[in-house]
């Protein structure tokens, strides 16, 4: 294992410190327990937005703290959801009286820890609504699993719900927008290589030189199945097909196309994937109105990508376009 780290157990702490130093104009880092808030939190009258999860997915979530997106991010250990004693103070810190929305990726650990924190916050008089993100179409039989995972769509939920909160929507409305995004986005991912969790020291799975993992999550876990290596267009089709069919994308649909890198794939390759995905969507009569290409929700240094499609309507488009000022996503300001 070769990493730019000091102590494997200090990775999150030191990385968050560096993040705080680099973006002191945007965020405040609280330690013991660790969470990150936007500098002007709580924003008077505004619904607070809190997300969090295991670390190792950077820039998610800390990179999305700031105007027009999250009010707080709560990082757990690498690939380990944070604990209620982090989530609760983050929730209290961003509550301006209008309540707080928790954006939670659907993993057992995240759900249980945010659930507890939400109860504790309610007990302290803060109204909390939870938006559960579960956009991963790779999980086929949600009856026999912990349900679909929250993956790439999380970024879109955070951006759009963040814009709704920023324009002054109330608690129920912000949660409803977040749920609408979640209901209209599907994602599927592929890994060309595994990643190595710092405290584990060995790659999260073993993959032959000519194999890839289809249907991976974002925690370095193996995917649903393993197939021989294919070219970029073939892989794109394989990822996009279930996304399109699950969303029921039809001719005339307007969509946002999000090609996300898992951390170790060159940007140039993500654009090769984007090219094919955009072509296929146009062939189906869908119109790609917005795009996002880059490393936004990653698995450490894993090579691979995910493709997300979000069905847009006028309101979601406007909210997507609304100004956002965070370390990792910025426009209009």
């Amino acid at each position: 294992m070769k990493k730019l780290i000091n102590d494997p157990r200090a990775v999150v702490e030191e990385s968050v410190q560096g993040f705080g130093l680099a973006h002191a104009n945007l965020v405040t880092v609280s330690t013991d327990p660790t969470f990150i808030t936007r500098n002007d939190a709580p924003v008077s009258g505004k619904v607070g937005l809190v997300s969090g999860g295991g670390s190792g997915h950077e820039p998610l979530h800390a990179g999305f703290v700031g105007r027009g997106m999250l009010d707080a991010a709560v990082p757990g250990a690498v690939f380990t959801s944070p604990t209620p004693d982090q989530i609760l103070p983050a929730t209290l810190a961003v509550n301006a009286g209008a309540g707080v929305v928790h954006i939670v990726k659907n993993y057992t650990g995240d759900v249980l820890n945010f659930e507890t924190a939400g109860e504790l916050a309610e007990a302290e008089g803060v109204s909390v609504r939870t938006v559960l993100v579960n956009d991963d179409v790779a999980v086929e039989d949600s009856l026999y699993t912990a349900g679909r995972r929250g993956v790439g769509g999380t970024v879109l939920v955070e951006k759009i719900a963040g814009a709704a909160a920023e324009r002054g929507d109330d608690l129920e409305a912000v949660a409803a927008i977040g749920e609408r995004v979640n209901a209209n986005v599907c994602t599927m991912g592929v890994a060309l290589s595994a990643c190595t969790v710092p405290h584990a020291g060995t790659p999260s799975f073993d993959l032959a030189e000519d194999e890839i993992e289809i249907g991976i999550g974002i925690h370095g876990e193996p995917g649903r199945h393993r197939i021989p290596m294919e070219n970029a267009d073939g892989i794109t089709d394989r990822l996009l097909e279930p996304v399109i069919s699950d969303l029921g994308i039809a001719s005339g649909d307007r969509v946002l196309l999000f090609v996300n890198g898992m951390g170790g794939t060159p940007l140039s390759e993500l654009y090769i994937i984007y090219r094919r995905a955009a072509q296929v969507l146009s062939e189906r009569g869908a119109s790609v109105k917005r795009s996002l290409v880059g490393n936004y929700i990653t698995s450490l240094e894993m090579q691979g990508c995910s493709i997300s499609v979000l069905r847009l309507d006028d309101e979601l488009t406007d909210l997507w376009d609304a100004p956002v000022h965070t370390a990792a996503l910025r426009w209009g300001v």
């Binding site: 327990p33 690939f79 249980l112 026999y144 060995t202």
Partner: protein
């Protein structure tokens, strides 16, 4: 004859912490195969924090020791295991109440309460390939042993059943937790949470021996 008082409880938790440290890599490896490589690290971090807490505020009763453990695991472990173990220890503590010493029946009840807490929290059923598959037979064996056995016999029955339960997760296809995403590919691997549960119940025997 074994006496399950606060000294035993502290020793149990200390031996558990030792077991987590010792088997950290093993539990990571189990989780690497069907999860995300963190279970050993999470449990080790959590139980080291438990040791710190225990020496900071020495508990007066077994119940207090377990409650302190519950709160610490809840705030230090994270992931799925944190809330589940937290709930288990919290329910066990509540079940024990303020008694200074635990008799066989109380012990069996506490183990059953722990098991029920995990199920209430995680909604897993036996056979879903989770820690429930260690705790369910453990609680059941404890209940039977408590009918005419002493506390040591109850602890041994629980530990053995948990170990057998953990081994029995090997062929199962996971239906809860992170391993469920693997579908059929989860078969042929031991559930990490069931394995750590067996280690913790074995430590309880060690503390009483």
């Amino acid at each position: 004859m074994a006496v399950l008082d606060v000294t035993w409880a502290v020793k149990w938790l200390t031996l558990s912490a030792q077991a987590m440290a010792e088997h950290r890599a093993y539990l990571i490896e189990l989780d690497r195969a069907i999860g995300d490589s963190d279970h050993g690290e999470n449990m080790d971090r959590g139980f080291q924090a438990v040791l710190d807490k225990l020496s900071e505020t020495p508990p007066g009763t077994p119940g207090v020791a377990l409650k302190l453990t519950a709160m610490t695991l809840m705030s230090k472990v994270g992931g799925a295991a944190g809330p589940l173990y937290g709930t288990a220890f919290l329910r066990a503590a509540t079940s024990l109440g303020e008694s200074a010493e635990i008799d066989p029946a109380a012990l069996a009840n506490a183990l059953a309460a722990a098991r029920d807490g995990i199920v209430a929290r995680g909604k897993a059923e036996p056979g879903d390939k989770t820690m429930v598959d260690a705790w369910t037979p453990a609680a059941e064996a404890a209940r039977k042993a408590a009918v005419d056995g002493d506390v040591l016999a109850v602890l041994v029955a629980a530990a053995e059943a948990a170990e057998a339960g953990a081994v029995a997760t090997d062929p199962l296809v996971a239906r809860k937790g992170r391993a469920s995403y693997l579908g059929e590919r989860s078969a042929g691997h031991r559930d990490p949470g069931a394995a750590s549960s067996a280690l913790i119940l074995r430590a309880a025997v060690g503390a009483a021996a």
